[in-house]
Symmetry: C2
Subunit: 351 residues, 2 copies
């Protein structure tokens, strides 16, 4: 299968849904990817089973606050610097790119990077969604060491991180994000294909495209069917509390139910992504399941940094990839990791 210019819009809409509010806006990465595909041609999307065991997989992502990412664009050189740093470290060529985070702009940008570098893109990612922190990837849960990791900015600065564990990957990486001005291009958890087969969430590139096509043909109802999603509520944004601190966009979105949900009061707690949906004392959904705020009219996911007073939204819950529901997965990305007192309960049991 190939991704080409004609697929980009649907693919980006699917990535936005999987972004669960974060992963960065898809608009600018889609423009950059379009330009790269036009210049360099379509990108091969390859299954890990079709690659040799020892091929080198480079997971890539942008780190930072999405509120910054919509104003601070990449130059296109960052990914070259990151690839060069990885190849120098491992003293061999990178064979294929892996999307670190399929959600939001982070799912879209690597399409352009793959075109630019002339590399294929694995049909998988490290999350099956978007998460805010650097160790919240399936590779980490699967035991792939977090060292080394590589960051590059648009000026040509490069950082090589050798953290002793996942929390230090996040801590050192976030320091880099802030030093670089809020966003940075990253490769981490570089591994061989044999490792990647069990350490990634597979099929998510084609899944994003499928969700986007469902949205095109049947709107949100079709997305709900395609994702086994749960409609949690519908309503109007009554308040947005938002601040960019510590390299993250944090806040709370208050939604007042309308129509069949009139009288309901929903709160969405955000750290780049929508992490927790509550209604009074009741938990509707929480990480690692996906909480999506979708525009009632278009069905498009509304990212964290674009939620505004008065928007009419539908709140969807999507089941996360199975790895996140394991004890190891919940330790890395469950409600407790984010300081929420709630116990995890699968979103499909919520209603």
């Amino acid at each position: 299968m190939q991704l080409d210019v004609a697929d980009l819009e649907a693919y980006a809409r699917g990535c936005a849904i999987l972004g669960t509010g974060g992963g960065g806006d898809v608009g600018i990465p889609a423009l950059a990817a379009r330009a790269a595909l036009r210049t360099h041609g379509p990108v091969d999307v390859v299954d890990l089973d079709d690659l040799p065991d020892d091929a080198l997989v480079m997971p890539v992502a942008g780190w930072g606050a999405p509120t910054v990412a919509i104003e601070k664009f990449e130059s296109g050189e960052e990914i070259v610097a990151v690839r060069d740093a990885v190849e120098r470290w491992f003293a061999r060529r990178v064979d294929v790119l892996l999307i670190g985070e399929i959600g939001g702009g982070n799912g879209v940008a690597p399409v352009g990077w793959a075109a630019r570098l002339g590399l294929g893109l694995v049909d998988a990612d490290g999350m099956g969604r978007a998460f805010p922190e650097g160790d919240q990837v399936s590779m980490h849960v699967a035991g792939v060491p977090p060292s080394p990791a590589f960051q590059a900015d648009e000026r040509g600065n490069v950082l090589t991180l050798e953290p002793v564990d996942g929390r230090w990957l996040e801590r050192l990486g976030r320091a880099g994000v802030m030093a670089f001005g809020g966003t940075v291009t990253v490769a981490d958890h570089v591994m061989d294909v044999a490792t990647a087969r069990t350490a990634t969430v597979r099929g998510t590139v084609t899944q994003a495209l499928r969700i986007g096509r469902a949205l095109e043909t049947g709107g949100l109802d079709e997305v709900v069917r395609a994702c086994a999603a749960v409609r949690l509520a519908g309503g109007k944004v009554a308040d947005v509390e938002r601040r960019t601190t510590g390299g993250f966009a944090r806040g709370v979105v208050s939604i007042h139910g309308t129509r069949e949900d009139a009288g309901r009061r929903i709160q969405i707690h955000v750290q780049n992504e929508n992490l927790l949906a509550t209604e009074g004392d009741r938990m509707l959904a929480c990480v690692p399941d996906l909480i999506v705020l979708a525009d009632e009219a278009t069905g498009d996911a509304v990212p964290t940094e674009r939620v505004r007073y008065g928007q009419r939204l539908v709140v969807l819950g999507l089941p996360c990839a199975p790895i996140w529901r394991t004890p190891a997965g919940l330790r890395v990305a469950g409600p407790d990791r984010f300081g929420f007192p709630h116990e995890y309960r699968p979103v499909e049991e919520a209603m």
Copy 2:
């Protein structure tokens, strides 16, 4: 020449004077160096003229806020991790250590590191004093590139920095300092001996020892003679304004003159080091010259983090190394770099 346990006290007192308030307290580094010298034997202090042109010189220092350094100690493993990172990068052995900053604890700790690593110590450093920021080294003024630089902490975390220029070395390095909790062990401006001969401030290890011996034998008066120093004032600390922000200890020390200086009001502006001494509208001394606050009774330099209300101090001005008085040196470490409106004037012209 060799440095051994018997030299440490005088050497550390000399480093404290050259610290101009910063470089970190000498007490704990002196204890660590003593232990290392006892275990591994004395350290050779070698002149750059006696080393082969292509020998690899590793400049080393602790970065961070001295207010943190007196509470957060090194484990001894940091320097090994830094050396390993340098040797991996350059694919060759490090031949000799260079003190990045002769002032304060940063002049003392490398004696222990050299003993630990079984390496000699060059009779030179990168400053001839202490400076707060990472690019304020003679190597930078001499055009040695700031990339790569290496940081390691006591847990085993390592960062390799490839900054595009000196300001980015400081910015990325300071982000590492903060992520690591306020202090970190660093190697930067790694170079060969041929380069080091013109890119360092030479003779400063033996100079520190000479100042310490002068203090032992003749007190402050002897130090003033040995350093061509200027006595700017004597008085009592009337106020200390101090905060640790952005990885630095910043503040202002107010001194009320006593005896022959009765009625005088001196202010010392601090960013880790004493940067500027003023009396009303008049500038007494400023960076890159050295401003030393010395205990009136013992003659010992009092570092930034130990200045207290009521102390009786003598304020000395010492001329800096000639490289800092060049236009390039003043750009990197003159009053303008720190945001002071004053024009630089050599301290010996002040009185």
